[in-house]
Amino acid sequence: MMTSTADQMEDIVSRGYEHGFVTDIETDVIPPGLSEDVIRFISRRKNEPEWVLDYRLKAYRHWLTMDSPKWSSVHYPPIDHQAISYFAAPKKKEGPKSLDEVDPELLATYEKLGIPIEEQKALAGVAVDAVFDSVSVATTFRESLAEAGVIFCSISEAAQEHPELLKAYLGSVVPHTDNYYAALNAAVFTDGTFVYIPKGVRCPMELSTYFRINAQNTGQFERTLIVADEDSYVSYLEGCTAPMRDENQLHAAVVELVAMRDAQIKYSTVQNWYPGDENGKGGIYNFVTKRGDCRGDRSKISWTQVETGSAITWKYPSCILRGNDSVGEFYSVAVTRGKQQADTGTKMIHLGENTTSTIVSKGISAGEGQQAYRGLVRMAQRAENARNHTQCDSLLIGDRCAAHTYPYIEVKNPTAKVEHEATTSKIGEDQLFYCRSRGLSEEDAVSLIVNGFCKEIFNELPMEFAVEAQKLLAISLEGAVG
């Protein structure tokens, strides 16, 4: 029985990537290479104010002094940053004034990905910003959001239309000096999403961005900034896909969240970048810095992620719990199969009193997948009565995969309470047998058990995403999981 399971698991593991097509669209790509001139070019192309260019150049000069980090457990050959093109945009004469002007090829691409951008077909209650290679190509439902006072636009537009807001918050959570890839992003970020929820506003719909890498030899360096002003609420979703290409592509994004007093931000990600083929050829390097700042009292930031794609995933969506009674959450499912590697987790920095954080991380490794949970819980000296509970579970499928857990716990306040638990196991033979004796096929049984393993996380996702995530998980493990 075990052998057949293993074989079936192999099948699933080797199953193809569904979003691997390439859109045939004329693209403006600048030649590979990085220099101050390239940065000036990007800034000029985007018609940015002077201060943005200065910010980029400052970040670039700092980046030049840094070395790429070596501490994680992921392995990859050195990246030649001069071989990457830092700007690629679908060719167009003028920016689209409305969705009608968006290139039909592009709309068809998103359609094919299952993301309808045309408003009449759009998912009810979800506003979408579509980012294609380096630029935002379409943002839906802008008028209805504007009525509520919500700003939802590309970061390039924000630089034009809301410079004061952008200037106040850009880089305030993830400074350009933060780490190697954050510095690189600050220098060359091309587009991304800006969200501002005014005081007392509950954003009337889910906001979402779909990222698509299409062009060859390009990197994607988007930047997302969400500011929830006092007593506001927003739920934000992010999805990612890329074509199958033989070379590795770099995705080095930065996401900054700011939650003021009594504000709440819920940030969900379904990441399905191209993972490379079964021999580990190609795939996205997903090196992302995500951080939320609970600045005000009683604010709350919740990260939920389902990570099934990318050759290498390397990210730690974190919360700085500055305000008293603020809350941070991290819910994660990560699947690695084939030759995928993931080093992911979170940091919960408790600064304020009565701050609480919850970490639930579920890792599934199959094939030769390598996975690590890496996390930090820090209770600062004045974090009176702070609480953390962490649960990390790993499920191993097959005997060539690996799962690691590296939690760091630093406590300087005696009234703080930290609890951390981690387990590693495989799918129990008795569980499998029980399901099969009740008439389930082995494949269904495994799928059932894995879904049960991840249920806690899926419950945190908005409905549409939960369904998508569940499907994605099934596809990721199909055949692999008998």
């Binding site: 005997d399 760091y408 306040n413 005696p414 609890e419 951390h420 387990t423």
Partner: protein
């Protein structure tokens, strides 16, 4: 400045002259030459620990540059008499007791040294007779990975016990290795070195203690190797009761053969700065290790335990339970690492680390880790940090016990779960007393 220099030891000069530390009246121990040279070479090449090295991230070693340590190149210290140290002896035991003063065997202080059949007891310094080839061949073979201090120990090891228990022999009397340190004007740096070899089916108990006369400053840098043959059993009790100004570093390496059993109870109460590395390696199937530790950090103490357990073969089990108590400005570091190799199917490992924080200025940094390359395993770890439980305190107080006493009882109870493993022994009583005194003092 290298660690070697910082430690006040002109290593290169020693290497050049060939004048190694040696017990008095003896020629330098020839057969150790190769090991010393290897150690010296390694010590010169290994990096000086700093906080950029993951294994030393939370463990500052700034003291090394503040005090100039004096290597103890000669022994023994005959001036120390039984009457000076008998308060450190455990009453009412028939322990085979080897006493080391500042790293050298002090024959006059030893007791119950009789040579039973199948039990070979030697000292590295040679004063207990020439060690057999079995012992010589095993020395320095168990310790695989080591940091610069361990390498330094290999280069400069002064004296220590060499214990060999033959196949199917049981030594019923515990073998006690009592280290007594005396601070001198220039703090001495001692390098005790022990080797414990149990052949297949053998069984023994070793008690390893680190104590001090007076409250002087010194640096103990010990290395212990344990090799367990198939089906052998070792009970290993360690108690670190160093002086409040001492630096204590010990490096314990254990290698478990097929179906062997190793039980460790480790208590660390003393010293200003203490670092213990415990490295347990499963080399044969069906073996089991039970590792328990109690760590106290109070005043300005830094107490660090790095535990790494390597499940390299299938069907082994391990239980790790380490508890920390923090008080005053104490800082406690716990790093517990479990590694399961690809072939080590059916491994079952459970690590628990619970920490009790009694003070507002204490700090605990704990890092339990799992690194797993096999799929059919059951591994888990759990960590908690918190203060005394309010419900428990109220329960005790509602029974008439005053708050201060209730707190002590709960701390004792917390600690008891570890050192309760040696209940009924004179050492148990002693640790209980020491712990009570230390927890009272800070009230």
């Amino acid at each position: 400045m290298s660690v070697v220099e910082a430690a006040g030891t002109d290593l290169h000069r020693i290497v050049a002259s060939g004048k190694w530390p040696a017990a008095a009246g003896k020629v330098p121990i020839e057969w150790l030459g190769a090991i010393r040279e290897r150690g010296a070479a390694l010590a010169s090449n290994l990096p000086i620990p700093d906080r950029k090295l993951e294994a030393w991230r939370y463990t500052p070693i700034g003291f090394l540059t503040k005090a100039l340590y004096q290597p103890v190149l000669e022994g023994p210290f005959d001036a120390v008499q039984v009457s000076d140290v008998d308060e450190l002896f455990l009453d009412g035991t028939d322990n085979i007791r080897l006493v080391f003063v500042n790293g050298y065997l002090a024959t006059a202080l030893c007791s119950n040294i009789v040579h039973a059949d199948g039990v070979e007891l030697r000292s590295l310094g040679g004063s207990m007779g020439e060690p057999s080839d079995e012992l010589r061949d095993k020395l320095d073979q168990v310790a695989d990975k080591r940091h610069v201090f361990a390498a330094l120990n290999s280069a400069l090891m002064s004296d220590g016990a060499l214990i060999h228990v033959s196949a199917n022999v049981t030594e019923k009397r515990p073998i006690e290795l009592l280290h007594i340190s005396l601070g001198l004007e220039q703090p001495p740096m001692c390098h005790p070195r022990h080797l414990i070899v149990l052949e297949s089916g053998a069984s023994a108990e070793v008690i390893e203690r680190y104590c001090a006369i007076g409250d002087g400053a010194y640096f103990n840098n010990a290395l212990i190797e344990v090799s367990l043959g198939a089906g052998s059993r070792l009970r290993h009790v360690r108690s670190q009761e160093e002086s409040a100004k001492a630096q204590h570093l010990s490096d314990l390496h254990v290698r478990l053969g097929t179906e062997s059993r190793y039980a460790l109870t480790s208590v660390a109460l003393g010293s200003a700065w203490s670092r213990t590395d415990i490295r347990v390696k499963f080399a044969g199937e069906g073996a089991h290790a039970e590792l328990d530790g109690l760590i106290l950090a109070r005043d300005r103490q830094l107490n660090d335990v790095h535990l790494s357990v390597h499940h390299d073969v299938p069907n082994c089990t391990s239980r790790e339970t380490f508890k920390g108590i923090l008080d005053g400005k104490g800082k406690l570091v716990f790093d517990g690492y479990i590694h399961v190799a690809q072939d080590a199917q059916k491994t079952d490992a459970v690590l628990a680390n619970d920490n009790l924080m009694l003070s507002r200025s204490a700090e605990v940094d704990t890092k339990p880790q799992l690194e797993i390359y096999a799929d059919d395993v059951k591994c888990s770890h759990g960590t908690t940090v918190g203060e005394l439980d309010q419900d428990m305190l109220f329960y005790l107080r509602s029974r008439g016990i005053p708050l201060a006493r209730a707190r002590q009882m709960l701390c004792q109870g917390f600690a008891e779960e570890v050192f309760g493993r040696i209940v009924g022994t004179p050492l148990y009583d002693r640790i209980r007393r020491l712990l009570a005194a230390r927890l009272y003092e800070t009230e």
